[in-house]
Structure formats: structure tokens, C-alpha cells
């Protein structure tokens, strides 16, 4: 029903505003319905201002900026309606180190309400998790999981730089 949609939209918008502030310190972001009178058919536009930049055209933003704006929208939906679990496959691949840290801090902050499974090659991300599973194939064509203890630096090194691929 359209009341429920409007109500949820408003909550997500408030969350988006807050989360945007954390991911883009000094910037501001908000969501807008293209047609307030017909919410269920209306488009959802994203309006953002990045620190120091005049432009707000989404297309002109960089690869990393776009990925971070998408993550801000994702986390704002997770805030309003937390799913039991959330699987993220290399979502931080385009981010620089500062932004990866902002992303992992957000993950930690949300991990109380939502369980996260994060597929990654990024060492920073690997340091921000509770448990690590390694997947290996060793030229056999068959995937095999190996549970890795966080303290086991050598094992993690072997995984991220395993000769056997």
C-alpha cells in the first residue's frame, strides 16, 4: 500500500542522510520521489553533494565514489529492514584504503543486527572480520573450504598468495 511505502521511504531517507555523512564526511545525500502524488509509480532519485565539489550529476562521479554511494543506499535499507543475513561479493574492490576503512567500520556497526558474509581479496577487510573461510582448488577443479583462525597470519598469507591458485 502506498502509505507503507511512503513511511518506509521516509525512514530510508533519514538513514541515507546519516550514513552518507559517515561515508562522505562533509558531504550530503538524500533520496527524492520524482512524483510525490503517485509513490508506487514514481522514480527514486538520488541527490548528492560531495565535499568541495560543485557537480551533483551521478554519472560524472568516479568508480569509487559511485560504489560508496551505492553502499550508503544499501546500508540505509539494512538499517530500516535488517535481513537475517547479507552476502557481499567484492563490493569494496573499487575503493581506496581510506574508503575501505569507512566501509569496514560500517560493517562492524551493523553486524549486531545482520550477519555478514563478505567475499574479498582486500587485506584491510580481512582484518575487520570475526571468522575467515578460505576456498581452494589446487588445480583439481573442485572447490574445498578451509576454516582459518584469525591469529594464523601464515595461513592467511598462504591464501592470499598461494602459488597453487
Amino acid at each position: 500500500s502506498s502509505e507503507r511505502f511512503i513511511e518506509t521511504f521516509k525512514q530510508i531517507n533519514v538513514a541515507f542522510n546519516d550514513i552518507f555523512d559517515v561515508l562522505f564526511p562533509g558531504g550530503s545525500g538524500m533520496l527524492k520521489l520524482s512524483d510525490e502524488n503517485a509513490p508506487l509509480e514514481s522514480d527514486v532519485d538520488i541527490v548528492c553533494k560531495l565535499p568541495g565539489k560543485k557537480l551533483s550529476t551521478l554519472e560524472l562521479f568516479s568508480g569509487g565514489e559511485k560504489a560508496l554511494i551505492s553502499l550508503a543506499l544499501l546500508f540505509s535499507i539494512l538499517q530500516v529492514k535488517p535481513p537475517a543475513f547479507c552476502l557481499l561479493d567484492e563490493v569494496e574492490a573499487a575503493l581506496d584504503e581510506v574508503n575501505v576503512r569507512r566501509f569496514t567500520r560500517m560493517l562492524r556497526a551493523f553486524s549486531g543486527k545482520t550477519q555478514f558474509l563478505v567475499i574479498t581479496h582486500n587485506k584491510e577487510t580481512m582484518q575487520a572480520v570475526d571468522v575467515i573461510y578460505g576456498i581452494t582448488m589446487q588445480k583439481t577443479g573442485v572447490s574445498k573450504p578451509i576454516s582459518i583462525r584469525l591469529e594464523d597470519e601464515d595461513k592467511i598469507k598462504e591464501f592470499t598468495y598461494s602459488k597453487s591458485g
Partner: protein
């Protein structure tokens, strides 16, 4: 509610029966290119009802069945089981654990199974209705999909918010 374990058998590169036990909090899945990490993401989408082979990076659905390798013969069928912890009764069923399964045989026969009883996809969808878990929602973000969240046609942005409403 959280994802307690995931069982794969004959699904894509998981030629042997493989069981992942997960904890609440944040779990990283790491490993070399091509080792099978994104296949786990495909397995979760598939068991939650994904109908499009293309969304699982294939051309026909039978390609999810393990095709064989240097050391193992092709599988006769593919099976994935998702076991959700339901202690908090987030799902309206009187079980402390709910297992959702899907099978596909080379013959084309396909089954959905909940707690060892055959069932229909629609009743799985009903069961998961208010949990935020689903193949199309925001609980599974595939490799390369993060940019699509803000750049998709804006209707799908609306669909994401509707899903949360």
C-alpha cells in the same frame, strides 16, 4: 535469525559434499581467482528460487550441476541446503531451525524442500516474506553488482524500497 550453515553437493565447482558452518557477526570468504567464492553466492541465490540461468552466469540451468574435473566425474544432480537459525521465531514456524533446499537432476527434475518435505517455491517465498531474505532483495549483492544499485533504472531502486516496506 541468522544463516547457521550451508550445504553444497554437486553445485558448480563444489563436486563433493561441502558444509559451511557460519556464526553471527562478520565472516570473510577468501581465496584465489576461480577457486569458487562467487559460486557460493550463486548457490544462495539458486536455493532461494533464482529461475534465470543468466543471473547465475550460465546459459542453461543444467550448468549449475558439477561438470566434472581432472579428478572427479560429473555429478548426477546438484543440491544446496540453507539452514537458518529460527530461535527468535522470525519465521512463523515452530522450529528452532529451518532448512531450505533445492535439487536439480540432469533429467530436468527439480525439487524444493523445506525441513525434509517437498514443497513449492511459492510457499518458501511466503515463509521468507518479512525476513528481507530473497534472491532479488538487498540480502545478496553479487560480484560487480554494487554499481548497479544506484545506476539501475530507477524502478529497481523503488523495488528495493518496496521490498523493505
Amino acid at each position: 535469525m541468522y544463516l547457521k550453515s550451508l550445504e553444497l553437493m554437486g553445485f558448480k565447482s563444489f563436486g563433493r559434499k561441502t558444509v559451511f558452518d557460519f556464526q553471527p557477526g562478520v565472516t570473510a570468504i577468501i581465496g584465489p581467482n576461480g577457486s569458487g567464492k562467487s559460486n557460493i553466492c550463486d548457490a544462495i541465490r539458486w536455493v532461494l528460487g533464482e529461475q534465470s540461468a543468466k543471473a547465475l552466469r550460465g546459459t542453461k540451468m543444467s550448468e549449475v550441476i558439477f561438470a566434472g574435473s581432472a579428478e572427479l566425474r560429473p555429478a548426477a544432480f546438484s543440491q544446496v541446503k540453507l539452514i537458518l537459525d529460527n530461535e527468535d521465531r522470525a519465521m512463523p514456524l515452530d522450529y528452532s531451525e529451518v532448512s531450505i533446499g533445492r535439487q536439480l537432476f540432469r533429467s530436468g527434475e527439480s525439487n524444493y524442500i523445506v525441513n525434509n518435505n517437498r514443497t513449492l517455491l511459492n510457499s518458501i517465498k511466503e515463509m521468507l516474506m518479512d525476513t528481507g531474505i530473497g534472491k532479488d532483495g538487498y540480502s545478496v549483492i553479487g560480484q560487480g553488482d554494487i554499481d548497479d544499485i544506484i545506476f539501475q533504472r530507477t524502478q529497481s531502486r523503488r523495488a528495493l524500497i518496496e521490498e523493505a516496506a
